[in-house]
Every structure is written in structure tokens, then in C-alpha cells.
């Protein structure tokens, strides 16, 4: 059983501040990927532990309201299993399609979701910006 942990990682914080610039230098983090890594998500993560062979997919990103108007960044993205069945235990949001370019914004680990070839998982990733308690 993987620990259910989700982190807006350190690189994600950097992406956030960059995107506030009048001319951002990085793309928005709306590429979704999955993997089979089980080491719990941590702030220092820069990649998925064991990413699937499938390509990252473009998600739909929107601004939503959780507590105060427009406080939540949401990405909905779907990945379809190819090649062989997998036990999915992690997912992440990236700001680029390829692994050699771009950064990790968010990583999550969770209990196994078994998928066979042709099965898909639609992930809804929500990040709420709020004042510390």
C-alpha cells in the first residue's frame, strides 16, 4: 500500500512565481503523467519515481473556487494504458510534454490502481492557494 500523499513540490513553487511575471518563462503545468513508484511524494521530488512508458497527456486547466473566489488551479487529464497492464501508484503534473524539458509541479502517491491495456484513468488535480492556518 502506497502512502496517499500529494505535494506541490519545490519546483512547483518556482513555476508558480515565474507564472506571475509579466512575461512568464515557463509553461503552465498542465501535462499529466502516471507511474508505478511507491516512495511517498516529497517536496524535493523533480520527477516521478517510475514513470509509465505512455506519453504525458495534455490536461484541461482551469481556475476554480474552493474557499475564496478563484483560489484553486485545476487540471483534468486522462492517460490510457498501453503496452502492458500496470499497477499505478503515482501521478504528476509537469509544465512540458517531454521529460528532458520542463519541471514537475505536483506529485502524488496513492494506493494501487490496476489498469489493463486500453483502460484509462482520468485524474483531477486541484491545488488551492490559501493563507497558512
Amino acid at each position: 500500500m502506497a502512502a496517499d500523499v500529494v505535494y506541490c513540490v519545490d519546483q512547483g513553487l518556482a513555476i508558480t512565481t515565474d507564472r506571475l511575471l509579466a512575461t512568464p518563462t515557463v509553461l503552465s503545468p498542465h501535462w499529466v503523467h502516471w507511474g508505478i513508484g511507491t516512495t511517498p511524494a516529497a517536496a524535493i521530488n523533480t520527477v516521478l519515481e517510475s514513470p509509465g512508458a505512455e506519453a504525458r497527456t495534455v490536461g484541461t486547466d482551469t481556475v476554480e473556487t474552493t474557499t475564496t473566489t478563484g483560489d484553486t488551479y485545476q487540471v483534468v487529464g486522462t492517460i490510457t494504458c498501453a503496452g502492458a497492464g500496470k499497477a499505478i501508484t503515482e501521478c504528476g503534473l509537469f509544465n512540458h510534454l517531454t521529460s528532458t524539458t520542463g519541471y514537475l509541479y505536483l506529485r502524488a502517491t496513492f494506493d494501487v490502481i490496476n489498469v489493463n491495456v486500453g483502460d484509462s484513468i482520468e485524474f483531477t488535480c486541484k491545488v488551492q492557494y490559501t493563507n497558512p492556518a
Partner: protein, 63 residues
């Protein structure tokens, strides 16, 4: 487990599995804010039960 680190944004991940035959299994929040809420835990439990049932059936059929 809720998000870790009070200065970081709160995050959550929800998942829906879409089987190759079109069957949709909603697992609710699988990590982060809201996962431990009773209604979500119940949704997740039922979803995983159904998913495991479908998975075993597929394995039996050699898929």
C-alpha cells in the same frame, strides 16, 4: 493524509477509471485534501471493490 507543510498550497487528486469497455469507476479523492472524509472513503471503498472485481474477471478471461 492531508497536505504536508502549512506554507504550501493544499492539493488533492481525484481519479476515475475508464475501462476499455466503457465502464466508469469513480474512486473519489485518492490523495490529499478530502480523502479522509467519510463519504469519500465510502466512495473509494466501493469503487475499488468494483475495480478489483472487474480486474479479476478480466484476468480470468485472459485479458
Amino acid at each position: 493524509m492531508p497536505y504536508v507543510g502549512k506554507s504550501r498550497p493544499k492539493a488533492s487528486i481525484s481519479a476515475r477509471v475508464i475501462k476499455a469497455d466503457g465502464t466508469i469507476v469513480d474512486l473519489g479523492v485518492i490523495a490529499g485534501e478530502g480523502k479522509k472524509e467519510p463519504a469519500n472513503e465510502e466512495k473509494g471503498r466501493k469503487g475499488r471493490e468494483l475495480l478489483n472485481k472487474l480486474f479479476k474477471k478480466e484476468a480470468k478471461n485472459g485479458r
